[in-house]
């Protein structure tokens, strides 16, 4: 039972850290994209296209972390 409590605590802490990481990463991407579009509005489409891929890769990393956290919780 104690082992379980530590597992839950670890999972919760880990998920919080993952959310911080993903939030910082996506925020930086969005900031870079906004600044780029502000400097050169004509390149808005290209910049959006370039930002799309890393955005979803990063979101995928966060989702992967959620999946492993759920695995730890459910498989004990």
């Amino acid at each position: 039972m104690e082992g379980n409590a530590i597992a839950f605590f670890g999972v919760a802490l880990g998920l919080g850290l993952v959310v911080i990481g993903a939030g910082l990463g996506i925020g930086k991407l969005a900031a870079g994209a906004a600044e780029g579009i502000a400097r050169q509005p004509s390149a808005a489409d290209k910049i959006t296209g370039a930002v799309n891929l890393p955005l979803f890769l990063l979101e995928g990393v966060a989702i992967l972390a959620e999946v492993f956290a759920l695995l730890i919780v459910l498989l004990k």
Binding site: N52, G60, I63, L64, E66, V67
Partner: protein
């Protein structure tokens, strides 16, 4: 006497027959596949693979039939018309094809291979989008209500068995793993068609490095090659399950509050004030997620296929 008091408490609560409301079990039941031991249609086990039809298999077939008939009938009707400019649904379909060909396939795969790989990418996009979206429509829940109040079918009828499990076929990681395997095979096929089978494998590591480096690079490249389809799998499956779990968890508040206070009005109040608006907002978010995840799967498949065709190191 203690048993009698306990029984009385249970009787006072909103749920009559089931007892305590197990939120975890209910949520998992609504998101996972129907039970493998009691499938919808029992088929034999060939070569160690159980071919029985479960709910997700049924949804796969329904989505495939839906996509097939909608797209084929639309295109046939348009072709019979003999007009060069499409209208209505065919117009939307053509816009979709052009979007995927021009902004997903062409920049990644290059002009030479666009016509080879656009059909596959289109299939991915349309199938995944429809499978995701059909998971948001509560058809089986409505069937369950009709069955509960009108039809009263037996305990183990086919209709009752249809109600177990979730409707989103792509929330099952086996389904998304199959799609990722298709991508995996497509990457190897694309590289082989462009450069030849052996040269494709030689392209994975840069040329002309000192030979000890290859001992490090080759395992890393092989791991990268395997991790990418795995990430595709988990990304799609987890995004689909996560949204549904969030909605179900919020709607469970109604029942949890009812149990906590022992009166139905507590649950209804929480439902009206918190649960239903929040669940509606998350459902709206889910619609965006459905579209985005189909787009991302297609885009990443196109990027990986393009990486196999245009090798830059």
């Amino acid at each position: 006497m203690l048993g009698q008091e306990h029984a009385q408490e249970l009787g006072e609560h909103a749920t009559e027959a089931a007892g305590k409301f197990d939120a975890g079990k209910t949520i998992i039941e609504h998101v996972s596949n129907s039970s493998v031991e009691h499938p919808l249609l029992h088929l034999p086990t060939l070569f160690g693979i159980n071919f029985s039809v479960t709910k997700h298999v049924l949804m796969l077939w329904l989505v495939a039939a839906f996509v097939f008939f909608v797209v084929t009938l639309t295109v046939r009707k348009f072709l019979k018309q003999d007009r060069p400019i499409p209208t209505g649904f065919m117009n939307a379909l053509e816009a979709l094809v052009e979007f995927i060909r021009d902004s997903i396939a062409l920049p990644n795969v290059g002009k030479k291979w666009v016509n080879t790989w656009t059909p596959l990418l289109l299939t991915f996009f349309v199938f995944i989008f429809c499978a995701n979206a059909i998971g948001l429509i509560p058809v089986f829940e409505v069937v369950g209500i009709v069955d509960h109040f009108v039809l009263h079918t037996g305990e183990h009828s086919f209709l009752k068995q249809l109600l177990h499990g979730g409707t989103t076929a792509t929330s099952n990681f086996n389904v998304t793993a199959a799609l990722a395997v298709i991508t995996f095979v497509s990457i190897i096929t694309a590289g082989s068609k462009a450069h030849g089978f052996v040269q494709h494998w030689k392209n994975m590591v840069p040329h002309g490095l000192a030979w000890p480096l290859y001992f490090l690079l080759i395992p890393i490249e092989i791991m990268g090659m395997l991790v990418r389809p795995f990430a595709l799998t988990m990304r799609l499956a987890a995004n689909m399950t996560g949204g549904h779990i969030a909605i179900l968890a919020i709607l469970s508040f109604v029942f949890l509050f009812t149990e906590m206070f022992g009166q139905a009005i507590a649950g209804v109040g929480v439902g009206l004030a918190v649960s239903v608006p929040l669940a509606t907002a998350i459902s709206g978010l889910e619609i965006i997620v459905v579209l985005v995840q189909a787009y991302v799967f297609t885009l990443l498949s196109a990027v990986f296929i393009g990486m196999a065709i245009h090798v830059h190191h």
